[in-house]
């Protein structure tokens, strides 16, 4: 774990790393300039940028920064392909797809449940417990959130019920993986099946074929009076759901907790070196229990956003694998809150783009849905820097 500060000295600018990063940026620009509002309609500038990007990539690779270097070469090639695609599309198509403010707003909407889920994953795995069951915990929050809001007549209480339900399911995972020393991946898989069964059963039993009522209390949107009507910012951020703001606020909060507080340090030490943590008197198992349960509550909030926050109803298996994307985001973000946030925004953006692409081209949008998974596959393969999990992640701890 290096949490060093970033200080760029002039001499470092000629080092391979900044060159590689510049290559990344230039490569990406090769595509961006062909999009609105720039809309360069010839390929030449893109090719020039991409060639410089490849050159910087090669320089960085030769200088020892292989991953960034190869990354910028790949980005440059992809950007040229993207630029060709943009040039082949008409001006009006580009106008329909790349409405930046709407794209950003949609990306944030898609990212919100993932942020909660990924933060839940971060806290769980930082304490040394693998959580494949995020999907199930999200699904619990998704159903019980709206059930609670319907039953108790308030979205606040609905969110509380969601957290209790997610926390309870997480408790099951905790008991199995901490006390009964189960294989945590198997246990998490079981958790997912169980959640699918519990929510579907309860939903059918309670609501029957009519589904949830239409007038359930919903989490409100936050209308920012100052910027609501200010062009891009107004359309992108002026009318976001309260839970999106909470999710975004949780990222620095979680970072502060994990890396700047005593309890955060304790939690991380339990996940890295439980034996040492035990030796200095930390209650290893208890810390892990708390972490797993909190993780279930966070994931449940993410699920609840879908039902109580965004859609206002529930359907079976509503999370549809978002827990797995959250898991992917956590790994993509290298088990760090900020990294997880960038990953969820990237994945959310891919989703939003897929949505908008489906207007001019219904078939192609579908392929974009696979993008988060392809990126994560590339990430775990170590192409974009090595993702390293906490040292004791997945190993049950047994006191001597």
């Amino acid at each position: 774990m290096s949490v060093g500060t970033i200080a760029v000295k002039p001499s470092q600018l000629t080092a391979p790393k900044p060159i590689g990063v510049a290559g990344l940026v230039l490569g990406a620009l090769a595509w961006v300039i062909t999009l609105p509002p720039f809309e360069v309609r010839t390929i030449v500038p893109s090719i020039v940028l991409a060639v410089i990007g490849v050159g910087a990539g090669v320089a960085a690779t030769l200088g020892g920064e292989r991953k960034i270097g190869i990354g910028s070469i790949v980005i440059a090639v992809l950007a040229v392909l993207g630029a060709i695609a943009s040039l082949k599309s008409s001006h009006s198509t580009l106008g329909v797809v790349f409405v930046w403010s709407a794209l950003v707003a949609a990306a944030l909407r898609y990212a919100t449940p993932l942020i909660f889920g990924a933060l839940g994953g971060v806290i769980c795995e930082r304490s040394g417990v693998i959580n494949i069951g995020l999907e199930g915990m999200m699904l619990m929050g998704c159903f019980f959130g709206i059930w609670g809001a319907d039953l108790l007549g308030s979205w606040v209480l609905g969110l509380v019920v969601a957290m209790v339900a997610g926390g309870l399911l997480a408790l099951v995972h905790a008991i199995f993986s901490i006390h009964m020393r189960a294989n945590q991946i198997v246990s998490g898989t079981g958790i997912n099946f169980l959640a699918l069964g519990i929510t579907g059963y309860w939903f059918t039993q309670h609501y029957g074929p009519n589904g949830t009522p239409t007038n359930v209390s919903q989490v409100p949107n936050v209308k920012l009076p100052l910027i609501q009507h200010v062009g891009f910012f107004g359309a992108a951020f002026g009318d976001m759901n309260l839970m999106t703001w909470i999710g975004l606020a949780l990222v620095p909060a979680m970072t502060f907790f994990l890396f700047r507080t005593t309890w955060g340090l304790r939690l991380r030490s339990v996940g890295e070196k439980p034996r040492a943590a035990d030796t200095v008197g930390l209650p290893v198992l208890r810390i892990r229990y708390v972490a797993v349960i909190v993780s279930g509550m966070l994931a449940a909030l993410g699920g609840a956003y879908l039902s109580v926050g965004f859609v206002g109803s529930f359907s079976n298996n509503m999370t549809e694998g978002r827990g797995f994307i959250a898991l992917a985001a956590m790994i993509f973000g290298k088990w760090k809150p900020w990294g997880a946030l960038w990953a969820t925004l990237l994945f959310g953006f891919a989703n939003a783009l897929a949505d908008r692409l489906s207007q001019p081209n219904p078939t192609l949008g579908t392929l974009f849905e696979a993008l988060p998974y392809v990126l994560t596959l590339v990430a775990v393969a170590g192409v974009i820097g090595r993702s390293r999990a906490p040292a004791a992640d997945g190993i049950p701890y047994i006191r001597e």
Partner: protein, 418 residues
């Protein structure tokens, strides 16, 4: 060689001392009745727990389970069942066995990986890719002779599944990428690629039905022969024998081949395997290729046996590959156990299906979710048992890779055993 194998197995089973008092007893237990006893007990507990939920929600668990049982068609086995009940039961039993066929193969796909200490969550993706290739080969090339066409389709599906799983094996061998994560990702990639291909306007969508997101229909020459029941009412096709042959191949591979020995050694202790001169990375690739082939063939048997076409909705909701995880775990990753577990889950899913469960006794929609609960409970309960008896090696390997240690550092054996 055989003695060595025995020693290896024995040591593997002695490792989790914490769970039972005496390692010797544990070994004896497993060799004898215990091998069947614990899975049976697990299943029983899961069914009782689910029964309690049925009771708590105001239904009668006994009549529910009786209706589910009758829905499975297993009452066909009772000689006193006769008349129309018997013919209905026969149809139901055909359904159960039709479903057990792919479950057996996806179960083997997960079990084979477990034997090598790998966790293949990607059975679903391998199944999807296999289904895409099976339906593509099956619906084209209609001029081929039947036998060749069928073999072509099955081999294509098997190869496709193998390559899909092989990606995960290759990534693990070359970059150390955790196969749990990579197979989950491959599942979703396969799903979206499948939806892309067959959706409205997709490249492989049936051109004669432009408003239905479905593939073309499999040609008659590629359909598997139905030997029991009415082919028009989804009678039982010969696919089940191919699946059973798959179980025999699994057993023979594990017990009678050099590869199987390698697989078990790698699964037990990758370090030792490496020092014994085995190429661990290459065995990971081989293992995943074989796993994927099992799952791919499972899809081919479904497509050529009774589905004949592939809907995008089917791709998105299919759970066959995920059930395979439960099947393998409950079957303790052995060939015979997997056959039994596949039958159990095939029966459970059929018995709780919309088509077979009497809605006057219990709502089939509820029953389907009851099935998921039972599945979840079984997997949860097996998760501790499995780590004790078989998976200590697998579990340890996963955790070692997960935390991305260097290969030459010692495995955390001390912590595991306390």
């Amino acid at each position: 060689l055989t003695r060595l194998e025995d020693e290896l197995e024995a040591t593997a089973e002695q490792a989790p001392e914490a769970m039972l008092e005496s390692p010797a007893r544990l070994t004896a237990f497993r060799r004898g009745l215990g091998g069947f006893f614990i899975p049976l007990l697990t299943t029983l507990i899961a069914f009782i727990a689910a029964g309690l939920i049925v009771l708590l929600t105001g239904h009668n668990p006994f009549s529910t389970y009786k209706a589910v049982f009758n829905g499975t068609g297993l009452n066909w086995l009772f000689p006193w069942v006769s008349g129309s009940t018997r013919s209905t039961a026969a149809q139901d039993l055909q359904q159960t066995l039709l479903l057990a066929t792919p479950l057996l193969l996806t179960g083997l796909a997960v079990a084979f990986a477990f034997r090598a200490g790998l966790f293949n969550i990607g059975g679903q993706g391998q199944y999807t890719v296999g289904a895409i290739f099976a339906v593509w080969v099956g619906s084209n090339f209609s001029g081929m002779p039947a036998i060749l066409h069928i073999i072509f389709a099955i081999v294509a599906a098997g190869l496709a599944g193998a390559i899909w799983a092989g990606i995960a094996g290759f990534l693990k061998a070359t970059t150390g990428a955790n196969e749990v994560i990579s197979t989950i990702m491959l599942n979703w990639i396969a799903l979206w690629v499948g939806v892309y291909l067959f959706q409205l306007g997709g490249p492989l969508q049936d051109p004669t039905q432009s408003s239905v997101p479905v593939s073309k229909t499999v040609a008659d020459s590629a359909k598997l022969h139905v030997f029991w029941g009415n082919p028009l009412l989804q009678g039982l096709d010969i696919g089940i024998f191919i699946a059973l042959a798959g179980a025999i191949v699994f057993w023979a591979l594990i017990k009678r081949t050099r590869l199987g020995y390698e697989v078990r050694t790698v699964g037990f202790n990758p370090e030792a395997a490496k020092y014994a001169g085995m190429n661990v990375g290459r065995s990971y690739v081989k293992v995943m290729l074989i796993c994927g082939a099992f799952a791919g063939v499972a899809a081919a048997l479904d497509i050529l046996g009774w589905k004949f076409q592939l809907f995008t909705n089917d791709i998105q909701t299919s759970q066959i590959g995920f059930y395979g995880i439960a099947v393998a775990l409950l079957g303790r990753n052995s060939a015979l156990g997997t056959v039994g577990a596949a039958l159990l889950f095939g029966a459970l899913i059929t018995g709780t299906s919309q088509r077979n469960l009497d809605p006057n006794v219990f709502d089939p929609t509820l029953a389907q979710y009851l099935t998921y609960m039972i599945e979840g409970l079984i997997v949860l309960l097996v998760s501790t048992d499995v780590i004790a008896l078989r998976l200590v090696k697998g579990g340890r390997r996963i955790s070692v890779v997960w935390k991305g240690r260097k290969r030459d550092e010692p495995a955390p054996a001390v912590e595991e055993q306390g």
